[in-house]
Symmetry: C2
DNA sequence: CCGCTGAATTTTGAATACAATTCCGGAAAG
DNA sequence: CTTTCCGGAATTGTATTCAAAATTCAGCGG
């Protein structure tokens, strides 16, 4: 059998995987994000244990973890399947994400540095350029970086973790990613106002703006979350 | 109320067949909340399996779930222990909770009914009475009900679940629960303003107020969460 | 007295074994 | 032809076993 337990601490190579179930959970996350396992797909333990070359114990632990994260759902005596997100649940998640980003904006105003604001400005301008060039991937990439920069500037790891977990639950290919010129010009204007408010350190106003900003481009952001994982 | 990972029962089937690991997770949650297992306390698998009369497999699955929720932390090759919350992490959690409540307030303005607002008014008045009578438990109970009512009025289960999970991570007996008269009168005034804004359906303003309201009584709320579990 | 060493014991991580439920296919009845 | 009911196979839930790491503690030397 493939009993060769290999996961010793390998010097120089990334993070030493302490638990088999963590590694398995990561791999299943990738399978879901890459689309190889689609929503509603049943998890077959035998298939995955053979694929990963492990026993059922760590696999089942990984399943429990992913179910707690909301990526899988458990069916009593019938195993688990990839969680599917209903339209209403997606709406709810987007509202929560909007709230988390609003909170991040509010907090970021407390301690963000001028250099960080400048970096956001750079990304914003690059985003505009990408849009004008029709470079959709570049547009989303820079847009994403802006929002991540604000999240990072909040200096709140609890917030960032919840945000990342929620973002990760949004599957890819759920919404098409195109936005109208109206949506785009509004988004750009809002970004510019965000930068102003960051400079002015007006957390309360920024929070309100962020919430509205996310609401204004729900579908676009949903698509962005879905595809950004690959990059 | 012990809420575990809620596995939905298929419609039509009357008997809810629970998972052993869910039951175990609930019991460990209770042990932590009741204070029987204090932060930093190590989890001894042999001890708990004997106590619960089960094998190590479901126990270990429960441990993974609780670790994912943030209630336990895993120590490689050394098992798990009850997670302890540092001061900075508690600060971070309270900011996130403030943001979640702000979001709830914003959303509640969309669909809250007059009857729900009236119920909040009733609780608010009872809360004032309890305070004047020196009934601290009653005060916290009604205060809590008000915030839960707003959360429920948000009609957002994703939001409510995250809120509940975060609240649940705040241990008891971490802060003393007394607040000064100044804090109290301010809280009452804020509650009254909250009711006004709910009636006016002014979500944006309510969000700002909620965030400030929670910030203004961080320690009190932390204590409230900690003790409310018993009731 | 102290700390160090190393073997015995305990405890954890992972694999395997066993038990119970569900799934699936075919035969029989309507 | 459809439905229902059985029985075996497959899959899941739980217990047990095996292996590796950590902990304990007696013996040793400084």
């Amino acid at each position: 059998m493939c009993r060769g337990t290999m996961n010793k601490i390998e010097p120089g190579i990334g993070i030493s995987r302490r638990y088999l179930h963590d590694e398995v959970a990561d791999r299943i996350r990738d399978l879901i994000r890459s689309g190889e396992m689609e929503p509603k797909a049943r998890i077959n333990e035998g298939e995955l244990t053979e694929r990963f070359g492990i026993s059922r114990t760590p696999l089942r632990e990984a399943i429990k973890i992913l179910a707690t994260e909301g990526l899988l759902e458990l069916l009593p005596n019938r195993g688990a399947r990839v969680a599917s997100i209903s339209d209403t649940e997606l709406e709810e998640m987007m509202e929560v994400i909007a709230g988390l980003e609003a909170t991040a904006g509010d907090l970021a105003c407390r301690t963000i540095t001028a250099a960080e604001v400048d970096a956001i400005v750079v990304d914003h301008e690059a985003m505009v350029v990408a849009w004008k060039a029709g470079d959709e991937a570049g547009y989303f990439s820079h847009n994403r970086r802006i929002h991540e920069a604000i999240m990072a500037a909040s200096r709140n790891t609890v917030l960032a973790n919840i945000y990342e977990s929620l973002s990760g639950r949004i599957q890819r290919s759920r919404y098409s990613a195109h936005q109208t010129t109206d949506q785009w010009s509004r988004a750009v204007a809002e970004h510019e106002r965000m930068i102003e408010l960051l400079r002015a350190r007006d957390g309360a106003a920024l929070a309100v703006l962020m919430r509205e900003h996310i609401r204004g481009k729900k579908s676009v952001i949903a698509a962005n979350y879905g595809t950004a994982e690959v990059a």
